[in-house]
């Protein structure tokens, strides 16, 4: 007891108590980071995200986007929660935006500065700017006014949020440099379905080859001409006229929005397609048991092949190493004709010379006179 009391009396006790407190608090903090719900934000920056407050009845698995079925001419009231998951106070700028299909498929949301003609144009936000402290959130109301002449089927748009402040520029000493300033944006999708006949339709309009340093691809021009979102899957078979085995290229498109068109790149792997003319056969499954079949021809030029120049794609010789079979037969026939012609001419001249010689000999010996 005496020793315990002596220990408690000494100044070391105070230090120990503070150390234990700090260590435990630190442990608690670590636990928070490991198990807590908030994202790790960039140091000293606001990070904004959005969550639907009222979920659509069709969305059962997640609360991450709005799925709304509405009638033409109707006005729909919805709410979205804006949260600052970052570590600094900031002002969030909210903007309604349209969606389109990205060049390599998938949904891409337009920037606020671009003209909005669909869902983005139908949304009216109660407020467009919200200032939030770290981990603070605010609910913002908005209204979707569906036009009376809205197309039947699915429409996709969203509400975007980003820091109202411009990103800080990073520079290094020196005159020749390229700086990239990054800004974050979060978009909560809104999928709006309007009543009317629904159609799944996909069309192909052409295939064009293209290439760059180390790669070669075929741009497949596709259009979703229906009014529902699609995720086409299938293949592109490429055959040449030289009897080579066909190349089967797999195609897995991400979301393809209705009434949009893209040039989808299908990359050539391992060895580039050589100079020549090719046949392409496209087969894509989409929607509910629909198949798009499309065939066309395209030509690879030496100029396109020269652009590849480097690994990892193996580049075939610019001039074809062998000729097509029909051309070989034609050339062989031509060669035979030439040989036959030359030998015929030679034989004829030889025969003519022999006849002329015989006539001369006959004349010398007076055979004609005897006759």
């Amino acid at each position: 007891m005496r020793y315990v009391l002596a220990f408690l009396r000494c100044k070391f006790w105070h230090t120990l108590l503070i150390a234990v407190f700090c260590c435990t608090a630190l442990f608690a903090g670590t636990g928070f980071m490991a198990f807590g719900s908030n994202a790790q934000a960039a140091a000293g920056e606001p990070v904004f995200s959005l969550q639907p407050v009222i979920y659509g009845p069709a969305v059962t698995e997640a609360s991450s986007y709005f799925a709304i079925a509405a009638a033409r001419g109707e006005s729909v009231q919805e709410k979205v929660r804006v949260t600052n998951a970052g570590s600094a106070t900031g002002t969030a700028r909210l903007s309604p935006v349209d969606a389109t299909t990205a060049p390599s498929s998938g949904i891409a949301y337009l920037s606020a500065g671009q003209g909005q003609h669909d869902v983005g144009a139908w949304i009216t936000l109660a407020v467009r700017q919200v200032t939030l402290a770290p981990h603070q959130s605010q609910v913002v109301q908005f209204q979707i006014s569906i036009p009376k002449d809205g197309r039947a089927g699915q429409h996709v748009g969203g509400i975007a949020v980003q820091d109202a402040a411009l990103p800080k520029s990073t520079s290094a000493p020196g005159k020749n440099q390229v700086q990239i300033n990054v800004q974050q944006r979060y978009v909560v999708p809104i999928v709006l379905t309007l009543p009317g006949p629904q159609s799944e339709a996909l069309a192909a309009a052409g295939i064009q080859p293209s290439s760059g340093p180390g790669y070669q691809y075929l741009l497949v021009a596709l259009s979703n001409t229906g009014n529902l979102m699609l995720k086409p899957r299938g293949s592109l078979q490429v055959t040449d006229d030289q009897g080579d085995p066909p190349r089967n290229l797999t195609i897995n498109l991400d979301t393809f929005l209705p009434q949009t068109s893209i040039n989808y790149p299908v990359y050539i792997q391992t060895e580039a397609l050589a100079v020549g003319t090719y046949q392409a056969a496209l087969a894509l499954n989409y929607g509910h048991n629909h198949v798009l079949r499309y065939t066309t021809t395209f030509t690879i030029t030496a100029q396109q092949l020269q652009k590849i120049v480097s690994a990892p794609l193996k580049v075939p010789p610019l001039v074809p190493s062998y000729l097509p079979l029909w051309l070989m037969i034609l050339l062989a026939a031509l060669a035979l004709l030439v040989i036959a012609g030359i030998s015929g001419l030679f034989t004829w001249r030889l025969a003519a010379r022999s006849a002329r010689g015989a006539r001369k000999v006959g004349a010398r010996h007076g055979w004609n006179r005897r006759r």
């Binding site: 009391l5 408690l8 009396r9 108590l17 407190f21 435990t24 442990f27 608690a28 636990g31 928070f32 198990f35 807590g36 719900s37 908030n38 790790q40 960039a42 990070v47 995200s49 698995e61 997640a62 609360s63 991450s64 986007y65 949260t83 990205a102 060049p103 390599s104 998938g106 949904i107 891409a108 949301y109 337009l110 920037s111 975007a160 980003q162 990103p167 800080k168 520029s169 990073t170 290094a172 020749n176 440099q177 390229v178 700086q179 990239i180 300033n181 990054v182 800004q183 974050q184 944006r185 979060y186 999928v191 760059g212 340093p213 180390g214 991400d254 979301t255 990359y267 990892p312 794609l313």
Partner: protein
């Protein structure tokens, strides 16, 4: 002596406070519900309920280091774009990251620009879990870039490039993307400091 006796309750109170703080911050609620042992006490069953709260989907990013390039250099500059996706929603609904980029403009003379096409492409990306964390990696078919299939970006500030689609039931946790950006500065460019703005967009999958 009185001082020492005062310290004991303070010590006990501090310990209790710290433990409460730790438990509340960890945010896990363990609850024993039901269970019990059989008659012979040879086997016991305990039920532990774990309540995991859903969080946010967000991006952590920062400006990449400036690319230094001297005109005429044979090697074109390249570097990583710091980009981490934090999917703590626990929904498994998936997410997509896309970006737009504005044209490079010289800081001192805005009439000097680098071409909109063919200047920047993303040449490599292999998603990985953030250090010392567990995650569900995105589907490799829709979230990886190789040099044989690079992703060139049109730098008009409008055309969106899809960088990664995690796919359903994937991409959960903190996922480091850090794609490699390769620049192709044309030989006829004016020397100077050029700047561009990238907007990285994360969105839940529909």
């Amino acid at each position: 002596m009185r001082k020492v006796y005062l310290k004991i309750p303070i010590l006990v109170a501090s310990c209790v406070l710290v433990m409460l703080l730790a438990l509340s911050n960890i945010g896990l609620a363990f609850a024993r519900d039901g269970g019990g042992c059989n008659k012979n006490n040879t086997s016991c069953t305990d039920e532990i309920a774990l309540d995991i709260h859903a969080g946010q989907l967000s991006i952590t990013t920062s400006n990449p280091d400036p690319f230094i390039y001297n005109l005429g250099d044979t090697t074109q500059p390249s570097g990583a774009l710091p980009l981490t996706i934090n999917d703590n929603t626990k929904s498994g609904s998936g997410w997509t990251v896309s970006l737009t980029m504005t044209q490079f403009q010289a800081e001192n003379d805005h009439s000097h620009e680098l071409p909109k096409s063919g200047t920047v492409s993303f040449t490599a990306m292999s998603p990985a879990c953030s250090q010392n964390t567990t995650c569900t990696l995105p589907a490799s078919s829709s979230c990886s870039i190789s040099s044989s299939a690079p992703l060139p970006i049109k730098m008009d500030g409008e055309t969106s490039l899809q960088l990664c689609d995690s796919g359903k039931n994937a991409g959960m946790g903190d996922i480091v993307l850090n794609p490699t950006m390769a620049l192709a500065v044309p030989a006829n460019a004016f020397a100077g400091i050029y700047a561009s703005f990238i907007t990285v967009t994360v969105t839940p999958d529909v």
